[in-house]
Symmetry: C2
Amino acid sequence: MRPTIRDLGEIELLNRLKKFMRYGQIDDDIAEINSSNKSLLINTDLLVEKIHFSDEISNAKDIGWKCITTNISDLICSGSENIISFNVGLVLPPNTHWEWVENLYEGMMEAMEEFGGEIIGGDCSCGKEKMISITAIGEKNSLRLHRGNALPGDYIVSTGYHGLSRLGLALLTSEKLPSEAQISPQLIKRAINAHKRPYPAVNALQALKQCKPESTNWRAAGTDSSDGLIESIRGICQSSNCQAVLSKNSVLKYPDWPEDSCWDEWILNGGEDYELILSLPKEWAEAICKTLKSAQIIGFIKEGKPNIFWDNLERINIQESSLFRHF
Amino acid sequence: MRPTIRDLGEIELLNRLKKFMRYGQIDDDIAEINSSNKSLLINTDLLVEKIHFSDEISNAKDIGWKCITTNISDLICSGSENIISFNVGLVLPPNTHWEWVENLYEGMMEAMEEFGGEIIGGDCSCGKEKMISITAIGEKNSLRLHRGNALPGDYIVSTGYHGLSRLGLALLTSEKLPSEAQISPQLIKRAINAHKRPYPAVNALQALKQCKPESTNWRAAGTDSSDGLIESIRGICQSSNCQAVLSKNSVLKYPDWPEDSCWDEWILNGGEDYELILSLPKEWAEAICKTLKSAQIIGFIKEGKPNIFWDNLERINIQESSLFRHF
């Protein structure tokens, strides 16, 4: 029996790779380096053509923006808003136009102008398909968000809307929508923008830091919802060894979002929305909802084997929720 | 006119990418991050199947060893022997066997056991061809080797033999050899090992540090010969804006290396040998040749537009020497 990567699936593959690593990105969004009295957070992301991006859906500038911002989102959801640097590895087929490469980097520069950081190095090679590998480095701050920091009694907070990016993807690819519901021009614009130009939750992180009540310490669990809302909560439950109970009515829908329940799937498992999903002590959770208009308490954490339930005790099928398997 | 990457060639492509970066790996082997009172050196390398490695030539363990050691070589030739960490990005076709992945990581672990460092994170995706992206981080030491540190009057030192890895590749692929010269079993073994299991010049770096005469300061230029001996000297001349004069008789040949001059090309431009190529003040150059048996003064640096000459004034064609163009 020599299993292939397809036999294993991505989760089992990552699980098997754990034994080769001290800790870091496999259990969390980020790896960490202690460099005397300053600590650094490090994140590597790969983007492969046709899997993570496609010229039919986005232009090179948008792709450049997205490579950098998705990396920044991992730093932000780990507590770091001080972005230091990026190393960019680029695999390109020989018939790639320079114009495409230039636009890609210009998109990256736009993102760095917005969020900080600079490209300090990288590598380049030809290959059959385009591939972008980004290693981002940020400075660790007073608040270190870990997936594994949740405790029973915590409230689960989402800092914004979900499903927009998934709708944007469907609109860009002319995919059949869940139902024939009317979609407002404003929602169309917002959804396409969410997909092409994701905006990491730096404001939410700042609000989170500012609103912390003096009565609580800096312990908070967090991740981003890049792999979907449910998947991000699953990650917190898994790393913190606890259960989540979610309130369906509390999960925010974008104002114009279609009412039909068949559209809910994209809110729960659409992915690529880059909001912060936090597990916080009650007072801190309430404080951030006061400070940040878009933040919402969507459930709570309790003891038990890693699992997610709706508040009507219905179990959420985590296996089905993991849409972001690339094998 | 929309030039493709093939139209531009790798050097022009890297040149065009410079405007998007502060400094770092494009002009040198490495990028640098200041993290309060400790500085870090960072290097990203991409390895693409069929271009940088192939299952027909090397097994997965050897490939794993090579990915890590080629990265370490960039840290070492920048002065760092304190290897901190690696982030590994892996693109794999779905039909890749887990066994291959496990062996790859085991080869990486062997290299880390030998030279230090640990894998702290990474990413994984499927794709059409295998690709390995490694970002290595090391600690900056008292000696910071830059390509751009050479000064007229310096001696050029090579810390070991060249051509072995290229011969190893030819033997592994049953490529026609430059001539029908006899090759000893020992040379065959050494050449194949040089290609499959390159050994970064950590001993040479340590010797370099230990033997520095008190009369000179820590200024030294250096790079590794991963892209070939001549290409490494070209890099130093380019970054230091100076000329190199090489003595053909001084370039060391491995004891059993065939005498025929048609074999010289592999010594000069074979690549993947990972020796240190240094530009040092005379006293320091002489000191390292006394300390390190395999080190040899092979030429000197003089003023002038970047170029390389033999000591009979024959100019070395740099364009032809750059065999490591992957586009």
